[in-house]
Subunit: 349 residues, 4 copies
């Protein structure tokens, strides 16, 4: 049994991690920390876990995290970078669900996150945990930077095109829509039910922290810089990301086949039949990304001109976009079957 | 007082028209027809109108529509084209909220709507009721083709750019999100609450009936063909459309100023301050389009390259996108103040 | 024109009051205060009011509230009681939408609201603003205590029975369901969209502040003490209260007729036909209470025994349950038509 | 492995059963029938099951249901009664999720379901599948009548009181609120998202089919007739039932202890700590009923009089209220661990 610890387990990625790990056949939950809730039973804060998680939150200073085999950081940005070194030195492996180790360019990280990075030397060592790209490196990693939710949906949606050199890399567009749980369990006015339901709006059009992360991943696949307009929107639902991706075609090929081949052996990426419109709910509570590829008419003189590829990519932001992917990374790091503990069927309706 | 009739008043555009007309100071509701509900009090079908609308539905054959000054068609597509001629000949003016007279190219209409057009000779005569474009022609019109919901939000969002020749007209993108009332009051499985809530998906990516309508309007403004990728999505809310519009800049100018000037005298178009993210709810139940203009960074070598304009355009699909715009057209046709009966403040929260 | 001031206009009752007053033909909005937002345009905080409310928030100390004809308190509990005296002395009339003056028993008020009352001498003078009960006294009032949302729906639902002495007064039950806007515009975790949507739960079963207010009103109508079990629930919607009321019948009569007669002349209470199930949405954004009366079978030996009356009472908690009722009170206080500025038709769908 | 068949698998209980059975370690899905979808892959209708359910729907006449060990009826009422006999004669065991065999009084069944019962002789043989009451009899049953959703939540909530003779059995009240999936996957106007969201209403106050079922179960526990007012409401969410139950206390005891003891060994009933307010979401997608017991003040002379017990009982209507309970019954019938395949943790948020 793998002894697992969770730092900062009171947010949505924390409770989702608890849901998944408490059902994982090879994991023993050893500790979960929360400065604010120390001493309180986890199931008192999250009654959905009554009878399933017997732990109480422990104070970060007192948790015996160094005795764990793996520690997950489900913390706000800026915490993991301060604590990772000591744990790694103690032989603990780390999956950081926050953003501390995602950007390789420390200066850019500091610009976007408005913090001084506390462990730049670990940044190079960290492996970006998008399993469909870095599977082999993750296996040996001591520190995995778990991807953000938008970056997961968008990279999985665009990677086949980029790897194939099939679209104009200077002018990609990602129009993404997220359920409100993506904003975290934070008491902020704009996230209230009375504000966020029955409403739809874009946000952070001028610049979102996931933009450099996405561009970094795409650039690595392209082996050159990539231009991307990224417009995130808040959608009146709890879970789910729908990324609608636009790329100008530069090389003809069978795009449906391209995607099917790229993901043929991926257990958690489902390329749907041509013409499909994936529902976000078809991934609800499941560790899955579903993708469909379209090539609509544009008109502009010739009604049937079709210059633009439209890719639809959906995930559950808390599972494949966060905690499920974290467990997938853990499975790889410990030599378990990649799908272990991640076989939940999506909950519909 | 203007005597108004409504044909087919049992759908969402019908009940919204009733809400607006019953509060209009210069309108007398004279008749409302429904084959299925004939004889039933309107307020028995729609209890929200109890005490406000005293009419009963009458059978289409028996309604004295020819005695009306204006008749609104809130019918499924294909009805108005069969009944308009007789009413026009009787001196009645018509606002058709359905799609029968929107496309000038009858062959294209027949291709998209899969019907033989019953009154092609009226198509030429019909005026497209986007007041912000055709105000003068609407004043004298006998037959107004009220625009679709997506076409309203998208055209108002793109017109200033197109009129100014500022973007690449061959490759516009409209990524649009609509609340479910846009699909109408139809008993279809995919519109059930248990199907459509907590879910987000694109639909009709391969071709939507509003696509030729939008392209027609844009082409008229551009005086040439326009290429457009149009991707509609269903959003888990009742009312509201959010169009996110992308255009590659071809001519530099102050885009914020461009929009402010274009709509300076428009009572129902609100250009928001630079950097705004309009909420759909800020137009809920009100006859308004709110627009914001952004120019985000793209990266791709130079982090600050900003080649693409992003316009956010929101409406309430049932008001500015349907029945409110119909009343606006009626006001113009009868020489009333354009804003009469349309001064409702948006309902928030 | 009546010069109106609003103290504390940043919550949901505040924005709703702004929506209504900005459309009221006899009201001039003179001042709105907010300690936190002082100096900011109202329409910057609430974009739905762009073009409709030109005021900026002013600091409470600097607002010239004493020059107003009427001041509305849309504040948290405990504010109005400290400021009312000075305004009344200056000749200003007050409608307090908070709870400061609702309970006649000051000791009980202090027990429930956990504050020392700052103006007990004004409590006796305050008139409880349930127009359907206290219309005449409201006309002459200088200080109106606007009823709470639950108390409005529940009292209007039960009053006919109690006035008629038709049910067992010792054992009434009010099972009430409220949309989340009833909890106010407060950044609290349990009100987040991700917490409150797709969920239903009771709260405060052990004791809710509206309980003594309801019992006070019912006892006044009954001229004796009344026993009431009150169970409020949070419902995943923005607006609306549905009260399901249970009373054991002690005197036979035609209950439908009882209700119809009691409310025959009330412009804002709609007794629906026997057998109806009022939708909360049929009052959305409108100053209305809709009521239906049922007498279901109970079984228990005789299948058709029908000992219990079930009354369904619905309102929009922000309109008839708060700001609309406040305007109704103002209309009465200033000798205007009671319905002035309150003729909005409910927004459906 | 148990070979399982499903008749009528296109509704919400069908897809939920597929979700559960496809993850059950001892079940092999052998056949699923649908007259309308015959020949279509299950995963084409329900993309959430892509990769998890390989079956196609088969025509009812051609499915080899008789080779199954167990057949679940997830059909509209009136189907199972016609097909059960032949299957039972072939040695197949049946769990009927519809209502055909729930009422022991055939005449009463025919009155409520407005059908002639096709197999009255099987009614006596059928075991009512509320495991917490009939566990032993279910083990040996050939035909289990799976309880309705409201009856499950309400009976589990009231049974301890009734078995203890602690409340007035002539005047129980069940005020129940259900998510819209309880109404089934039916294309009906009132279930549309645009109708059912942002709305709350009671329905069928005059008489609901679950009323006789609940009274039958309560009467059996009481060994006498029971009087019950049952008021169901439609709540704007997909899953979940919240029953708020009221009983007048006739015998004093420690009610919290009563409930804890009654359900001490029940794997799927969770008695929460005194004073709790269970969320429906804390059971989402899980086979659980959570219960809390309250005794609020009533006033009526003595402020602290507390004559009425209030029990809050929540379930996921599709799991413990339907398909999860059906699997629980199957486990009992086949001698498996009762919890096998039913250990999903509730999905929150």
């Amino acid at each position: 049994m793998i002894k697992a610890g969770i730092v900062g387990g009171t947010g949505y990625t924390g409770i989702e991690l608890l849901r998944l790990l408490s059902q994982h056949p090879q994991v023993e939950l050893a500790a979960i920390t929360s400065r604010q809730e120390a001493g309180k039973a986890v199931s008192a804060l999250f009654p959905s876990l009554r009878g399933r998680v017997a732990l109480a939150f422990s104070h970060p200073d007192q948790a015996e995290l160094k005795k764990c085999d793996v520690v997950f950081f489900a913390t706000p940005n800026g915490v993991a970078m301060g604590e990772a070194r000591a744990l790694i030195d103690a032989g603990v492996r780390i999956v950081d669900i926050s953003a501390d180790f995602r950007l390789k360019d420390v200066a850019e990280w500091e610009r976007w996150y408005k913090l001084k990075h506390a462990a730049p030397e670990l940044v190079a060592q960290a492996v970006y945990g998008l399993c469909e790209v870095n599977r082999d490196r993750i296996r040996g990693a001591r520190l995995v930077a778990n991807p953000g939710c938008y970056p997961t949906a968008i990279q999985l949606g665009l990677l086949p095109l980029i790897e194939a050199g099939a679209v104009d890399l200077a002018h990609l567009i990602a129009d993404a829509k997220s359920g409100v749980s993506g904003a975290g369990r934070k008491a902020e006015l704009h996230l209230l039910h009375a504000e966020a339901s029955e409403n739809f709006a874009a946000y952070a059009v001028g610049g979102h922290r996931h933009w450099p992360e996405i561009r970094q991943g795409l650039a690595q696949a392209a082996r050159r810089e990539v231009g991307l307009v990224f417009v995130p929107h808040l959608t009146p639902m709890i879970r789910g990301i729908h990324a609608t991706l636009y790329g100008r075609i530069t090389k003809e090929m069978d795009f449906q086949e391209l995607y099917e081949k790229r993901y043929a052996n991926e257990p958690f990426v489902d390329v749907m039949p041509a013409g499909s419109h994936p529902d976000t709910r078809s991934t609800r509570a499941a560790n899955l990304c579903r993708i469909a590829v379209h090539r609509p008419p544009e008109g502009g003189g010739q009604a049937e001109r079709r210059d633009t590829l439209v890719v639809l990519s959906v995930i559950d932001n808390l599972v494949k976009g966060a905690s499920g992917q974290a467990v997938q990374n853990m499975n790889l790091m410990f030599g378990l079957a990649e799908t272990m503990g991640l076989d939940q069927v999506a909950v519909v309706p």
